[in-house]
Subunit: 440 residues, 2 copies
């Protein structure tokens, strides 16, 4: 069967499909993550991904996917199936669909032999398969593996073959593909900005933000907004298609500025930074050090803070105190406070925060105590009840009680987020004045 | 265009395609996770997933995907696009492909009205769209949302429409779809067993395991093995297709038993349990309590232990001590030990473990100190160097130093895994004798 597409060479590339190949991607245990990386790169070049497909190591299924993609889009990116075994059918299948003969490329064989020789091995005969190249293809060197990539043009369309492992695919895309695609793209690129909001739900954020982003949707260039909500976090993804970074920045800055005003202190990041990064930057700005005392979150608040490179400059200590005995012994929570208010209470959260601050000889202390479930809930304090406190120098303190939905993992994750957000708000409100009171 | 499939009703369902619908799934920010859940459920029924597709909110693209899937497989599961807005095109598109008229279902309208009324709201007129049903469809009630699912039969094939949100889709699949599919499946099911190995790399595990699983591949019923490796963890997924659970158990038990023997104490789980679950069960078995002192892992070891429900019974305390001052103050690490050996050393890890054990008044202490990077590495102790120690009653102790590859997050994750594994091996080797020495 001859391809039914009509020739129209050098048309700009504006639409793409991504085809992932591998029977393991059709099991419950593996998902295709390459397409997220590739989509980000393609979108930046103004190329929209119209469809993604995942097929097994099956020549017929792969051929059908490639054929139908070629009928729909300008660019087909195929990932995987370039290994040396008989299961790896991508080269042969694409050559068949495009009706190109396969020839062994002597230069690739030489590079493969040299690669094996550097490790003191002889090249297995199998690997010769990886040197087979459809006529007219550009070979893309793979410095991190044995499978070279391939770039083919066909009736004005482009087909790119890349190896499946992300650590091979990613540098090849960035180093060898992106530039070639840019030369063939429309010239307009997609620019993005991510705004993050904590402590308010999706509908609250929508209510405040919608009038703003409706207005910017009609700007020129237009700003598109996507709202992504997960428990305790709402993200506004702004994007605009523009001919230059400065034209994009002008509208994105305008839209982000108005959204920041509408959302007030609930907006914690307008530059893509995460909550622990923002908290860390505030601590570093003010030269303050923090210590954490946790019960139900079991170390998660500390772990999130410590995830950030450079956090050893401001995270002093973290204490996980599950039992009442350890709350008393390690954090100095008075037994009488536990008895009077219960282990899950704001006074205990405050005492844990004060204890952590003392143990770590820190400027600020954070305390978290709650019922993460599945057991341990009561009528007065059901599963999901979490008390959170922040204690600072000069007697500054704030505490809050929240009821969080979901299972144990969800409750713990949200509680950690609320704790980090309370710390952020405390640092914001102090406006640097806590710094004047900090410990030597 | 009339469908070109030939009628052949009541043939058993053995192959499936999954189509995910939603433009947000074609951005770099969201991936389709429903298909992993659905694949697990379908595989259990002996139904193989042959292809997965992701299309945007575009009627033409969706129609093409459904049409080509119907030409290839017995079952098409379509997720998403059942909402009340104009973007939600799945009902209309599928009705068009199958050439069925759409009618409003009065019972669905009634349920939707009642659902809104329970919240004190009036049903928006938009939601009537969700009551439109292709002729001949079975309506599947959605207790967690407004979008009902649909089950359609067409020329012996089955098309299922499910809402996109996992918390709606998952109970609907389990409660309403699985039984219907089982009645139409081949009668053979896929049974799985997962074996997990810590502390040994993929090639080591392959070398020991391959002779065993090669043998079982030729058994009747055959056992297929997939090896999945991630940093610090190797999983062997065994599966067999059998007519009954007992027939499957016979071969899976046999294969798992031989693999357990070949892998020795490196195998930590043959029943799907995670490392923290296995460690927790050993601690609970022996009535022992643990406390953790961590530096570079920043609370991750404690957080992993505490992830397990019921862990408050054996996790006593966790202390994150970053600076040398806090290592001394909170964990009682002697300054002289730090000076003599450096903060990243086995003697300091042992002293941290002993300190955590003392602070938590626990039976066992775990200590972790290392260089997670990106800064802080030296020639003698490069980034990735981590020292880990376990201290038990009666002077029992063990310590190890590892060099872990990857970035900060990868190093911390692997270090936590090595620490949990060292704790597991200590508990195994003691064979319960530590229990005799435990603290009151």
């Amino acid at each position: 069967m001859t391809p039914t597409t009509t020739p129209h060479s050098d048309r700009p590339l504006s639409t793409a499909e991504i085809v992932a190949v591998g029977t393991e991607l059709l099991t419950p245990f593996r998902s295709d993550t390459n397409s997220l990386f590739l989509t980000a790169g393609l979108n930046e070049l103004g190329i929209v991904v119209r469809r993604k497909s995942i097929v097994g190591d099956d020549g017929e299924d792969l051929a059908a996917a490639v054929r139908s993609a070629l009928a729909r889009v300008d660019l087909v990116v195929i990932c995987g199936g370039l290994g040396p075994t008989e299961d790896d059918l991508t080269r042969e299948t694409v050559a068949g669909v495009l009706e190109r003969p396969l020839r062994e490329d002597a230069a690739i064989v030489e590079r493969l032999r040299a690669r094996f020789a550097r490790r003191g091995w002889e090249m297995p005969e199998n690997n010769r398969r990886q040197a087979r190249v459809p006529a007219g293809a550009v070979v893309l060197d793979n410095p991190r593996g044995t499978a070279p990539g391939l770039w083919l043009e066909h009736d004005g369309r482009v087909v790119v073959l890349l190896p499946g492992p992300p650590r091979e695919l990613e540098p090849m895309f960035t180093g060898l593909i992106e530039g070639r695609l840019a030369a063939r793209a429309t010239g307009e690129r997609l620019y993005r900005r991510v705004l993050r909001v904590a402590g308010r739900g999706e509908s609250h954020v929508e209510e405040r933000a919608q009038p703003v982003y409706e207005r910017w949707r009609r700007a020129d260039p237009a700003v598109e907004t996507t709202v992504l909500a997960s428990p305790g976090l709402v993200e506004l993804h702004l994007s605009t298609r523009a001919g230059s970074a400065s034209a994009a920045a002008a509208v994105l800055d305008g839209a982000a500025g108005e959204l920041a005003e509408a959302l007030g202190e609930h907006l914690f990041s307008a530059d893509g930074r995460s909550l622990p990064e923002v908290v860390g930057a505030l601590l570093a700005r003010d030269g303050l050090r923090v210590a954490v005392g946790e019960s139900c979150t079991g170390g998660l608040v500390t772990a999130r803070l410590v995830d950030v490179p450079g956090s050893s400059g401001y995270v002093e200590a973290g204490v996980v105190a599950y039992s009442n005995a350890v709350k008393q012994a390690a954090l100095g929570v008075p037994g009488a406070v536990i008895e009077a208010h219960g282990a899950v209470s704001e006074p205990v959260a405050l005492a844990m925060a004060a204890g952590a601050r003392r143990v770590g000889d820190a400027d600020l202390g954070v305390g978290v105590t709650g019922v993460a479930g599945p057991g341990g809930g009561t009528d007065a304090k059901p599963v999901g009840t979490v008390c959170i406190a922040v204690v600072g120098p000069g007697g500054a303190e704030s505490a809050t009680t929240v009821r969080l939905p979901g299972d144990r993992a969800a409750i713990r994750g949200q509680a950690a987020r609320v704790a980090l957000d309370l710390l952020r708000r405390s640092l914001l409100r102090s406006g640097g004045e806590l710094a004047g009171l900090r410990r030597g």
